[in-house]
Amino acid sequence: MSATTAPPLEVRGLVKRYGNLAAVDGVDLTVDAGDVYGYLGPNGAGKTTSLRMMLGLIRPTAGTVSLFGRDPWETARALDGVAGFVEAPTFYPYLSGRRNLELLAAFDGDGASALIDSALQTVELTDRARDKVGGYSHGMRQRLGIAAALLRQPKLLLLDEPTTGLDPGGMRDMRVLVRQLAQQGITIMLSSHLLAEVEEVCNRVAIVQSGKIVYEGEISALKRSAGAAYTLQTTDDERALGICRAQRGIEEARPSDGKIWFSAEEEEAVAALSQALVEGGALIRALTPQTARLEDLFFSLTEGAGNGAEDAAADGAERESIQAQAEATR
């Protein structure tokens, strides 16, 4: 596949092992041009390790990473058109924000330095650009990280938990910025453990658990796969429940919190049910479609059989600790 037609990011069979621990275990994913791609998983699931491999910072144990058709371990040119950061963006604290950007622009090549002013303006750091980064807040460093990424005129932006550590206002601003950058045509992949964030800004998602992808595709498709659910309130719920259960196309019906909960794949089945309820003498007070929440789908995918949320969290924390120890000693 030529570099011009290759997708911005293609990962095949990606594995990273630290001793016996597989931090990333056979990840396959493709980020197409124009995607805002969420890499979603609990802490310790292997998201940051994956992003490090994608940016050529750590060498995969097995598998390949391709950025616009080029391997970041073969040439730094693979990072042309690619920018981003893993964990928190880091800068030289004894230099000003502008000096840091000048340094990074120099390391990007001619032309990048001409973008410093507009990048600072984009992240609204122009007024603080001459202050030393050592005095910046976490949110300001995150924004400077975005500015540093913009200097590369990226076609693909890889962001590792860009809202982590930000206050609610900072999180909102960062999400707005991500959406604005996406509107400019930049393909974005962002890792996150925040479901709402991914649901809000991403069109596609890979859900990762214990280093493995448990779902990859469009968020809307994921929600559709969960089927459509409705709640119903009538003048006679007992009779209505019987009608629901007898109605063709209604897959499941049960009482729930003083209402009737039922699922149906086809909207026509719901229309037919409405008519049957009226004819059966159970007049409809409320019929409400229940949108599947990403959060519910996420937990159903990541917790697995007999693996509760607490177990998953403990597993993630343990994996995180082992990864950190392994990385520190390498």
Partner: protein, 289 residues
């Protein structure tokens, strides 16, 4: 941030002409060194020691010396830089060198800035070469600064007078000055070796303090081996011995054999250390920070 519209990106520069080079890294590494306190700690030590020596000579009562050139300190200021070269070999110059060499990679690891620069348009070897050149520049400046301050301080104290060579002949002041600077250049060989060991420990340990102290300890270990009675046969091949190679210049005629020996002995330590540092840096995972 949310309130304002996102500024339009500047026009794309076609083909990204002028890709960054080793020189780009070197310039910015020097710029960073200029802004780091530890640079001035090393350079400050280089400057202050000759002044302390000159003051000590001024108040010294004994005219006798128990080491090379000590007895000439009151007769010629040009003896001072040479005496400092003798004393500095034990720990001062290795420490000054290690302060930057041990820190230059490890601090980037510690601060997490290594991953920042590695995700730009540079090859790893370019970053390594630029940093190595910057650390070398610092070491050269430190040695030359020390020598120059020693010449000036010594001259103020004892005058710009002819110097007696180790063979007992008298060398004119101007000729001796040339020999002093040539001695400093030869002294740079073992210094460069210490630098390479520092760079290796810096890439290997990823810990600035461990790399600086480790470099100094290796240097002291060579000194220790050199004075142990049973191991004196190893002396010609020790790094510590090469710090004395410049003394060949102060003989009449000049004795080049210790200098030639220093070239290959220093290379014997420096090349593997630098090579290992290079390979480690090129292949290693960059995480944390």
């Amino acid at each position: 941030m949310s309130s304002g519209a996102v500024a339009a990106p500047a026009p794309r520069i076609a083909g990204r002409v002028g890709r960054p080079s080793v020189l780009t890294v070197y310039r910015w590494e020097v710029f960073k060194l200029i802004h780091l306190k530890r640079t001035y700690l090393g350079l400050g030590l280089s400057v202050i020691v000759p002044i302390i020596f000159a003051v000590a000579i001024h108040f010294r009562h004994s005219q006798h010396g128990d080491f090379a050139f000590a007895s000439y300190l009151n007769r010629s200021g040009l003896a001072l830089p040479l005496v400092i070269l003798l004393f500095g070999a034990v720990w001062m110059f290795p420490l000054i060198t290690a302060l930057v060499a041990g820190d230059i990679f490890a601090s980037e690891d510690h601060n997490g800035t290594l991953k920042t620069v590695l995700t730009r348009s540079l090859q790893r070897w370019q970053i390594f070469a630029g940093k190595t050149l910057a650390a070398t520049t610092y070491a050269v400046i430190a040695i030359l600064l020390n020598g120059t301050f020693a010449v000036v301080a010594g001259t103020i104290q004892s005058g710009f007078n002819p110097l007696q060579s180790l063979s007992g002949t008298t060398v004119s002041a101007s000729h001796a000055l040339g020999l002093v600077y040539l001695a400093l250049v030869i002294y740079l060989m073992p210094i460069a070796t210490v630098l390479c060991i520092g760079l290796l420990l810096s890439t290997l340990t990823r810990n600035s303090a461990a790399a600086v102290v480790g470099t100094l300890m290796i240097s002291l270990l060579f000194q220790l081996i050199g004075v142990l009675p049973g191991l004196q046969g190893t002396q010609p091949y020790l790094l510590s011995t090469q710090f004395q190679a410049w003394q060949g210049l102060l003989r009449q005629p000049i004795d080049w054999s210790p200098i030639v020996q220093a070239v290959w002995v220093c290379a014997m330590y420096a090349v593997p250390a630098l090579g290992a540092a290079f390979l480690i840096f090129l292949r290693r995972d960059v995480a944390g920070g």
